[in-house]
Amino acid sequence: MRITVVGAGASGLGCAVELARENNVTVVDRLPVPGGETGWQNPEIQAFFKTAKELGVSFELGSMATHWDGTTLLTVSPLGTQKIKSEYLFFAGGIRPATSAEIGLTGDRPAGLFPATVALHLLESGVLLWRNAVVVGDGHWASKTIEVITKLGGKCTSIVSDDTEMEATSRNIVNASNFRVRGTTRVEIFECDVAKKTLSIECDAVILAGPAHPNRNIDGALTDFGTKHIFVQSTTLVSPKSRFEHGRIEARIWADALGEIT
């Protein structure tokens, strides 16, 4: 069978490796290198990539998958568009932090409000962008953002549901709800309710760091409805190894179930 996997991160590579033993597998990724959010320099990613190639998986890197109609995947790259025929689509498009709307954040919409994925990219420029950031959410984006901002000399206040895991370098606020942002030019205040009282925190940035939601962007494979596309997007696993294994297991479970039907 021809199967296309979208996403050359750890999860997608896991799917590809598992499926390649019995199928003709192509992996598509919008980035020109494998690794997704983990990054191509990660040695584990490089090992997974090597295994996949040895098993005959072909790669279409630097191509954005845009449409899936159940038989054909449309991709676009600077070299042109492509129609990849396949019987099934595995979508391993990774995860992203919840948006303002998804966490119910209201108030003003000034400069200084960023998804953590964006904040981390910007901080890679090595410039101290914010002196006093509020980081909303638990998990790996939150701890990584706090780590980088602190390293560059800024402070963080962290809005978490469970403060046992967070860095000691930030001030932790637990059990907060009803998040609001204040500021006209740039964010000045982050407000939330804690034990029925309003808490106002002065800040110059608000970083949205979770909870994780699956990225979904291919028209025709956006919702769970449909028998020809399978989502492999764990919102809890973080390490490349665990995501790779998760991809393998999901692919195996799917293949076994399909075997039983046919």
Binding site: V76, T81, T99, A101, A111, P115, R180, R186
Partner: protein
């Protein structure tokens, strides 16, 4: 480009009406300066409205209705000429009970008196027009000439064409005082002075302040805040028409509006306030909007919400004001509370007529351009292959949810009135507008914007006013 310190006409305000007037005047021999206090055109109400090019809004016989009637048949031609997304999808007004049904009889009479297409429909007919409308509908009005338009793209297109024809845009500049002399007026700003023979006051919420500054009529303008909810296109593509609430004597109500992006808007609410910069949303109002929309179209209830926002329309003691000032002969007011987009083509024409009548020598120019080059959209193109062949940057997708390519972003950063902020790129291309709200692409867009504006990762503008770094 004319001398940027003096012109025949100074337009104050870079919203949809100011830019529409600039576009029309730019196709004449008159010299024009447009001044805008924000760093971009299409801020405030022009970027925060539902994007409905209405066929009906106000009372029969009014100037506003006349301008809507003159503008409405032109949309297909204008959207093609200016490369602005527009679709005449029609509207359906919904009565949910006997009282509202009774009210609709009066409304349909008024619409017909305005000379606009409309017809009362039964619940069965309404469900055929929009299968997603509530089965509890008691009666409806079908309004086939309602359309949806991208109001930001319309405004930036007017501005781009005006700039190409030589209108001088002075952004980031605020009017401080206006004096009149034998030749016209002397306008002092926070950046310098401008001499102009005529002034067009298209300052929206600030129109009363500009009029007072100029010694003109004493009227009031104030911000009326509207909050909106944006639904993802995974749901919104199922909608086929604009679904309106029954108008009440006090409000036009909150509606369900498909957008040209493929998403849908719920809203707006209407709340008068004092601070024009207060564009805050609140949970209670958002919840009301969602529950109100679900009464009209029940399936909106659990549709994915990608964004909430608010903007202020320029309300005041008149809903529409397009006339020469009663005291100052060279001052023309061009403001409209809610129908700015819908009257804009005809408002440009009428303003030109009033200026000519007041003595402006403005012949239609033979050399002026009237058409903007088409910038393809990767997502909406029928033949993406051709776009990529022409320009490989079309194959470089930056915004993964809306499939906005590097070519489109580059075009926005290099346009006659270029995007100078991350939000400016979003306004012109839709990048970052989608369901992930930029979590994948905003860093890339900020770097592209930083390069184009010669700023850095911290100093590049995120919004029209605020930078990425603090």
């Amino acid at each position: 480009m004319p001398n940027s310190n003096s012109a025949d006409v100074l337009i104050i305000g870079g919203g949809v009406l100011g830019c529409a007037v600039a576009e029309r005047l730019s196709r004449t021999t008159a010299s024009v300066i447009l001044i805008e206090a924000e760093s971009d055109v299409a801020e405030h109400a022009s970027k925060g409205n539902a994007g409905v090019a209405v066929s009906y809004y106000g009372a029969p016989g009014s100037q506003q209705t006349n301008l809507i009637n003159l503008s409405n048949p032109l949309w297909e031609e204008i959207s093609k000429r200016l490369n602005v997304p527009y679709r005449r999808i029609g509207g359906l007004m919904v009565a949910l009970n006997e009282e509202e049904a009774h009210h609709l009889v009066g409304t349909v009479d008024e619409i017909l008196q305005c000379g606009v297409n409309a017809k009362l429909v039964t619940p069965a007919e309404a469900l055929q027009l929009e299968p997603l409308v509530t089965t509890k509908i008691v009666r409806g009005i079908s309004m086939p000439d309602e359309g949806i338009i991208d109001p930001i793209r319309l405004t930036t297109a007017y501005a781009s064409l005006a700039a190409k024809n030589g209108v001088c845009f002075r952004l980031n500049e605020r009017v401080l005082s206006i004096e009149h002399n034998a030749d016209g007026s002397l306008i002092r700003t926070d950046q310098g002075t401008i001499e102009a023979r005529f002034i067009v006051n298209a300052a929206g919420v600030a129109a009363a302040e500009i009029s007072a500054m100029s010694g003109g009529e004493n009227f009031t303008t104030f911000p009326r805040k509207g909050q909106y909810v944006v639904l993802d296109r995974t749901y919104a593509h199922k909608l086929s028409r604009i679904v309106f609430s029954t108008h009440s004597p006090t409000t036009k109500g909150s509606n369900v509006v498909p957008t040209t992006h493929g998403s849908a808007l719920l809203g707006p609410t209407a709340k008068d306030q004092i601070d024009p910069d207060d564009k805050s949303t609140d949970t209670e109002t958002i919840e009301w909007i969602i529950s109100n929309a679900a009464k009209l179209v029940p399936s909106t209830w659990d549709a994915p919400v990608i964004k909430t926002f608010a903007a202020n329309r320029p309300a005041g003691d008149e809903i529409h004001r397009l006339r020469v000032d009663k005291n100052i002969a060279n001052l023309i007011h061009v403001t409209d509370r809610s129908a700015g987009v819908s009257i804009s083509p005809a408002a440009g024409e009428l303003t030109l007529e009033l200026l000519r009548a007041a003595g402006l020598d403005a012949e239609d120019s033979k050399s002026a351009i009237a058409v903007l080059p088409k910038i393809g959209s990767l997502r909406l193109s029928q033949n993406p292959e051709d776009l990529v062949k022409d320009n490989p940057l079309y194959g470089q997708v930056v915004c993964a949810c809306e499939f906005v390519s590097a070519a489109e972003i580059q075009a926005a950063l290099e346009s006659p009135i270029p995007a100078t902020s991350i939000d400016g790129v979003r306004k012109r291309t839709g990048a970052g507008y989608g369901r992930c709200q930029g979590s994948l692409c905003l860093a890339g867009i900020s770097f592209l914007t930083a390069i184009a504006t010669q700023s850095g990762p911290g100093t590049v503008l995120q919004t029209s006013r605020g930078t990425v770094g603090s």
